[in-house]
Symmetry: C2
Subunit: 427 residues, 2 copies
């Protein structure tokens, strides 16, 4: 089955909104084994939307539109698509009731009500996070059209809870997909290690890389869920065997989520002391709802005096080794662990750039320390290749800290000692 | 002049990479007064790229491609575009030299060298952050084609430093654009206030909204830069008059950048104490290179004991009013100011959700306090409309804290007192 996404919204063509809807829809289609051949974006312009729709219908079995379902005058997706598909718009009473409910006690204008107008005979997708419902229907040539709202926090739940089930119910096959999350190995290396698994057509295995992490998605198509799961299992197991301790989770949302869950499962806590990452690690840990059970205290000690004041890093050590040193990272980690009473303390200090580098302490040199009941480990990140920017380095540093924590929680060692001893020689 | 963007990359159609290149290019084109009518994405597939190019050339004067210039086998943009445009690929010696320089001391394969092959007679855009150069050229029908690399940290500088100047030099007009940044007013309200200014064709004024902030972009087209600037000035001045203290900057990168610059200009410092934002405010401040001059200390006090330990928030106060209260926010702000010796202390405490809400302390209730030499101000965010998610609330809270700081630095008052007194009555 071939699909095409049409995103509608002038704001997308002005560049002031990044189109995350397309990737959200693309992820779901791809996991469902539906081939997305094109995606395109048009402004709030009926003529151009009509052209985009006709082009899409001429080459795809499924067309998904995002945006333009709202109450304002330039929200014209439904009107345009319905007209092009030769469908009448009729008032959907249930949607109208939900909109009235949403505006209970507030003024409800006609433009708001118009959101409940939907193509005759369509399947309605309720909007659990807003007002504009979505829908799916089949054209007389048997093509499927799905319309979803633009705001990501409305689109994502509607997509997962209504649109994809609608789509799958129309097909005979069931798709099951599992994502294996890897940190600490390059995509090229992993692709080599698993090339035989990636070659197959069903189940499939495919690699992706993102901000220093990488993923292997395993997808199987079968007549029912159980059979599809049965086909995925051996591949996932084989991946675990080959990539071993570099896998931080299967079907987890993020490294921070994996770490927060593991800390909670073990009833352990972590405290953070950050210099160059400036709170990013704490921010990522607290992105996870329920982080308060495992994270009680974080310090952003940007200045040397504050490292001493909050974490007890000896002034003498800062003078002798400098703020960017394995010794300081270690003292920060142990200091915050002691002050907080947490099971683990993390310390991060380095040069994120673009400025502030020296020949001995170049931009990109970052030390990470993890202090736990079983002692301290220090990992060093050294400048490699081109400078990818402050954000990239800070993200990679926070991810390395999460990886050290995850490895320690799982009783794994390995990546730290060499980095540290190499550094020891240097110092 | 009409333009179309073609993004090339299977990873985009699999949904594992969000297409930020398109918005980066769209922003620049829009600021240059070039109308972007369509953007589309195709995989690493020569046939479909050829179709997309032909469609784009049939309706646009300018086509910008992103991605597919790299060394790997599926990087086929240059080959495909050149063939479709009837151009030979020739080795660009200067690009080859740069690539050899880049790989100095490392193995340089043929696939890497192939990146220096460019359409005959094109204008080369050097890649200052990577290996693959970009280029621009004119087809025999007078259409302009620009090719840029996919990695955002390579694309953005090439776009701004080489591609846009190349584009403007081909045109008789010069475009000048200024962005007025607003916080604390809704887009609808602002649009009403400035509808007369938005109606004009040259200079133009247009509004955009993003994560609780909004922007008005003023753009003028003229024969030279000075004349275009002269046309923008009165509009920008009029906006300042109408939106006044709600404008936090003109042509600034972000609220955090505006605040860090203002703190630096006044030689002042800030320290942060965060609960529900969990380090996001500190992270945003330290996103700005040079933040270390104005930000020395941040605390993430997620647990009550830690609020007491690090910030001296009285246990009695936490018992009486709870962690989520204007009193606690105030105590956090004053505590961190005192501990750090900073000129300003910021305290943030609230319920970001999705869980943890109660009837008295619902999800979305967040207190922000700013403690300075001139006393303390507290702002309250109350749940409004639908729950937009944890990220949105945390971002909005951090932005409100930055706004309070900015207003205090500029000697403005206004938004805090009512919110606080309203709360006082409540408590």
């Amino acid at each position: 089955m071939n699909a095409e996404i049409i995103s509608v919204g002038t704001e997308l063509l002005l560049g002031h909104t990044v189109n995350t809807d397309t990737s959200a829809v693309a992820r779901e289609l791809s996991a469902a084994g539906i081939d997305l051949l094109y995606s395109c974006t048009v402004g709030d312009n009926p003529e151009r939307l009509k052209i985009a729709l006709e082009t899409a219908l001429s080459r795809s079995d499924l067309v998904v539109t995002t945006g333009g379902l709202g109450p304002t005058g330039d929200d014209l997706t439904k009107e345009t698509i319905a007209a092009a598909a030769g469908k009448k718009l009729v008032m959907d009473e249930e949607s109208l009731r939900r909109i009235e409910q949403y505006f209970k006690g507030r003024f409800l204008g006609e433009t708001q009500k118009k959101q409940a107008l939907l193509p005759e005979g369509c399947t309605v997708f309720p909007n659990d996070c807003g007002t504009a419902p979505g829908c799916g229907f089949t054209t007389e040539n048997g093509k499927c059209i799905i319309m979803l709202p633009g705001p990501p926090f409305e689109l994502t739940p509607m997509l997962q809870n209504y649109a994809m089930p609608y789509l799958m119910s129309r097909r005979n096959a069931v798709i099951v997909s599992h994502m294996v999350h890897v940190f600490g190995l390059g995509e090229g290396y992993v692709a080599e290690q698993i090339s035989d698994l990636c070659g197959r057509s069903n189940p499939t295995a495919a690699t992706y890389a993102k901000a220093g992490e990488m993923f292997v998605r395993v997808t199987a198509k079968a007549k029912d869920k159980t059979s599809a799961e049965k086909m995925c299992t051996p591949v996932v197991e084989e991946l675990k065997k080959r990539l071993g301790e570099f896998i931080y989770g299967v079907d987890v949302g993020s490294m921070e989520e994996a770490v927060v869950r593991e800390l909670a499962a073990q009833g352990k806590t972590v405290a953070t002391a950050e210099s160059c990452t400036g709170g990013l690690l704490a921010k990522r840990l607290t992105d996870i709802p329920g982080a308060s059970d495992v994270f009680h205290m974080g310090c952003v000690t940007y200045a040397n005096e504050i490292k001493t004041l909050l974490l007890g890093v000896p002034e003498e050590m800062l003078r002798q080794h400098g703020a960017v040193s394995p010794q300081t990272a270690e003292a920060m980690a142990c200091g915050v662990r002691e002050r907080s009473g947490a099971d683990y303390g993390v310390g991060i200090t380095g040069v994120a750039g673009p400025g502030g580098g020296t020949p001995e302490k170049p931009v990109g040199l970052i030390y990470l320390a993890l202090c736990g009941a079983d002692g301290v480990k220090v990992r060093v990140m050294k400048p490699a290749g081109r400078y990818r920017g402050r954000d990239y380095l800070r993200t990679l540093a926070a991810s390395n800290a999460l990886d050290m924590l995850r490895r320690s929680l799982q009783g794994l060692g390995g990546l730290e000692r060499p980095a540290y001893s190499r550094e020891k020689k240097g110092g």
